[in-house]
Subunit: 469 residues, 3 copies
């Protein structure tokens, strides 16, 4: 047994088949249609910072696990909002992390980090408290080399296309730079994604100000609902010109709602003048998903929906360190009733592509697979956040395939801001798919040749096709 | 490895045990206590239509999967309600289906179809776009032979008893014909099931008209609640005379409610005069489950409850093609609170047998197993629709056995209208049970002789006993 | 293959690793930080009663399964409340139980009983209807021997510490006796746990009377809210003096609520004067969890929360035989919103330790693991009741490890009143953990040496540390 068999079933029949299937998939180019890499990394192509700043401080999977055992985020280099000092010494952060390495046993973070150390940086020393400095120094040395600049790594990682995610208020300057360098623009290697939460959700911080900024950027009168929609359309055009093929929508629930123009206008205006409330805000968001689906049908952007994250559940963490540092948790999500209005309106329209994600694994069999397996417009996104792990990737296939098949799933997305972890994340998904397909073959449910075609579809052809790349 | 090992675990120890256990079960007669085969098929014993009309057009598992990839039901021969033309050329339908065969990889439909081709029709050619015509012609040729008439297949399938499902408004004429031919009636091979949804659910299309028709059929005054109950009792008697041993109830939720006669009368009358509303309808349905349980205790019909299907979720499909063509989806179901009133009233009464099904796998461990394992009247129905697949059949055993044991489960039901798929569906369940029991044996949790007795109980003795066949 | 491999995966690679890991864990002392053994058993150290009185009558896992197949609890020796006679002949009960032995195939009860017969009593005869008397006689003979007195078994079982559970109204007399004998008190082998449900839940039978009794015991004026809190604090002190290191809270839901003193006082007084209602009761319970968390921070008692049991769902059983005889069932539990107020207040305070249990397996991945993996105060309790079985113990690790790791789980608790089953319950957990870790090793996800350290942590070090033993 060698590391080559990582994550494969240990039963010899299945393992042999898994190896064979994985061999088909492992060298396929990476399609990364959804993620949060900062485009500045690739636009500037500057050397990465020290190993801790690169790998530990911005990874909330890591800092929340340490917080759960009483290690403060500030001591791990997470910036504070209140001016309290936080650790800035990379080596000190790295050692503190290494001391708690055992916490990550059995987690995907351990897998991603180990494989990143080994495959990206060529460090084969087993990581732990005793080897923390050795590993730190080795990675730091590599980071100083030109082959470890972002664009060089992008090539080495065999990424065909990487989509970042920007708000409509972003000027897309980094993407313009990428296009100028031959890296971006329509059909380019680095493209953007239209993510309008901060102008669509009336409860978003400074929503009214954001809507006003939209007017400045587009010349539309966003004090009116019609002008607001026109402004959104203009920004979508700008995003398409910057290479975007999809939009992304992070909502608390999956609720959708069909309102007529006068009702939508009334809600929009109520919020603008400060007369909103949570019910009105939910109704407006729900309606806007339908409105945005209509825009998708017009302009061809694939629509992604990410519902179910209770943002800033850990209020102390939010107060001290702000958003996106590990304080969110999942909640139960109702797709069957939530999506019904949208699907009734456009679910059978083949011009719409709606890729739906979940943080609620309990909906795999009961809701998501039956919906994706029954509406032409709907596809299942890969297991997302908290679920982007080997065990859940396997359960995802075990749960959704029987009702939705493989071809209503949209392929793996890494959804990460950790650029260096992209290869291992895709590799894990390919290995798990190889193992799942190997079991189908070993149980005589699928011939080997069809399994081999399927794994390449999952790794490459499906995401490329569904996301219109 | 050969196809004989279909669906068995590939680990050699478990596979060897699974083979041995399966050998005990595979030739047991089929008990099919719940399904939707049209009794006319067996009453008339006419040759089946062409392969597409037999296998593709009426199978909503197949047509919904194709719809989910943009292939219209009309192009697959599903009749339209609005007069728009639909495909009627069997071979054209068959080819269109074959072109999309890859969509069914990993689904139970693929398994059922492949095994039907092979085992029922003796066609061993691998199915796919290139062999579509060959397979079509081979099946068509068989269908013309007398050995492929319904009754001949029934004998070959080794079916001991098959229950169809009829509404109280059905005159049971086909069952009378079957009885006259020595095939039906009490203790016969083909029996009916009493399914009163269309007269129990005030929101059912034309409910008031159906209640009026009940009066015509029974001579009872169904304009009064007492007369309505008396009419239901008379129809139950007629069904019992036609061989029925069970009733079946398809409800949106599992809610039950104990009302006194005056409250029930008021709800009934409100609906009859058009003063109903959704809450009243839900209350009436909930109450009627308790009323029907009382009738079951009187007349001995085993009561089956199928809750949780959101009917006609896909409204476009419903508008164009009507009911039961793939537009339903599951929703979350609360059994613990929903069934409490009924179970409080009669759950410990051994005269009642209540077989409960689910579309919501998340209730297996939390609700269904603890209830079935704690009330004398309650049994667990086999995984139903969307869940009638190898992976879920396995998870069902893994989830419910520890709290409910094997003996509070009611055996496999195929729940199908696809007559030719009955053997393979039961075979899949037997194979999965063999694999599950093999693991218990391999992990030293159950001796082989007890596992061998158990698998015969599951395949034959339990459904026969629990459904009073 | 031998019984030594009980519950290990049958795949040879995994089995070999599981054996090696289990060898590390199997002789670790038992830490039993939560359970319901009657302390009188160990205080008095009297011989146990006959085998049926010891093993069958008080085990509601057993009596509910038999009830589910129509065997009355009274016929199994469960005392009646209404004076109706119930079986008292141990041998008759035992034979009746043995006749239905097949019902327990695949259940944890079978495993626990078989291993108890074999390992505790040295009875190797296969149990069943034919051997019922032989097994009964063998066990009865053993029970008469001094080596089978409770304290002797405690030593043989290698229990390091066992926590029982008492109400604040308990005078802790048995624990005083244990302390006097060198068995109890702080740091002792048998300690108590503070379980205040009967004085915290205004809907508990005789709550006002219990609150009054609290005044008698403490000298505080529990007619006032401040006095009530002071009385609770005094009882906690008494429990700590009797060795308690934790409190335990059985609530219908996981709801928590932060009220100010005047609001809490108003609710308390409303209930005392009989003006409560279900909403007020829920609010008071929810608030008290926060109040009790504050006390935990002060006095160091680890706080355990057991939500989600619908008590006395089977009302006939409750009416005839009372509480805790098998009539409870689980319900869905919302931890994400329920615990938010408590976690917002104290979730990041390392002085608080909150161990959360569940009856709702669907929350493992979606709620419990993300919360425990993101708050310093929260730990996951072992799968509880209905879930304390091999399949769920395995699914627990498969579901929570990826988000919470191993080190936010609090180790196995047996939660049992069946003293003789304690060793086998812990053994089952160790075997399942060995199997899970073996798979991680076999799939190259964890090195063997780390897995070996982890299994000892899970079996011994974690519960000992987290429960402050």
């Amino acid at each position: 047994m060698t590391r080559a068999d990582l994550l494969f079933p240990s039963e010899p029949t299945q393992r042999a088949i898994a190896r064979e299937l994985y061999a088909q998939a492992k060298d396929q180019p990476i399609i990364s249609p959804h993620g949060h890499v900062d485009p500045a990394i690739l636009a500037d192509d500057a050397p990465f910072p020290d190993p801790a700043q690169l790998i530990i401080c911005p990874d909330h999977y890591v800092t929340r696990m340490l917080l759960s055992q009483g290690v403060s985020p500030a001591s791990l280099g997470v910036p504070t909002l209140d001016g309290e000092p936080y650790e800035t010494d990379g080596r000190a952060i790295w050692r503190r992390f290494a001391e708690h390495w055992r916490l990550f046993r059995g987690t995907p973070s351990r897998l991603w980090l180990e494989e990143t150390f080994r495959e990206v940086f060529g460090v084969t020393t087993a990581f732990g408290p005793d080897t923390a400095d050795e590993v730190y120094d080795a990675i730091a040395a590599r980071l100083a080399e030109p082959e470890f600049r972002p664009r060089a790594l992008f090539e080495r990682f065999n990424i065909e296309v990487l989509a970042t995610t920007e708000s409509p208020l972003d000027d897309l300057g980094r993407h313009a730079k990428l296009a100028a360098d031959g890296w971006g623009g329509p059909g380019g290697r680095v493209i953007t994604t239209f993510r309008p939460d901060n102008v669509v959700d009336p409860e978003f911080e400074n929503w009214a100000g954001n809507v006003a900024k939209l007017a400045e950027m587009t010349g539309e009168d966003t004090a009116t609902y019609r002008g607001y929609l026109a402004a959104l359309r203009k920004r979508r055009e700008a995003f398409i010109a910057a290479g975007a093929t999809s939009s992304d929508h992070g909502h608390l629930t999956a609720r959708t709602l069909v309102l007529d123009e006068s009702e939508a206008t009334a809600l929009f205006e109520a919020h603008l003048r400060g007369d909103g409330d949570p019910d009105k805000a939910e109704a407006f968001r729900a309606h806007m998903l339908v409105e945005l689906a209509r825009m998708s049908i017009e302009d061809g952007l694939v629509m992604q929906l990410h519902p179910g994250a209770v943002r800033n559940h850990n209020r102390w963490l939010y107060g001290k360190h702000g958003r996106d540092v590990g304080g969110d948790v999942p909640q139960a999500t109702d797709y069957v009733h939530g999506l019904e209005p949208l699907l009734s309106a456009y679910g059978n329209d083949p011009r719409l592509r709606l890729v739906v994600y979940t943080l609620d694994e309990d909906t795999f069999t009961r809701e998501l697979a039956p919906l994706a397996g029954g509406y032409a417009a709907m596809y299942l996104g890969a297991p997302w956040w908290f679920l982007d792990s080997p065990e859940v990737l396997r359960r995802f296939r075990e749960s959704v395939t029987e009702s939705a098949g493989f071809y209503n799933t949209a392929g793996f997305v890494d959804d990460t801001r950790a650029f260096c972890s992209i290869p291992v994340r895709h590799d894990v998904a390919r290995r798990i798919d190889a193992g799942f397909l190997a079991r189908l073959v070993a149980e005589h449910r699928l011939p080997l040749d069809e399994a081999a075609e399927t794994i390449v579809d999952l790794a490459y052809r499906l995401p490329k096709g569904i996301f219109r790349l």
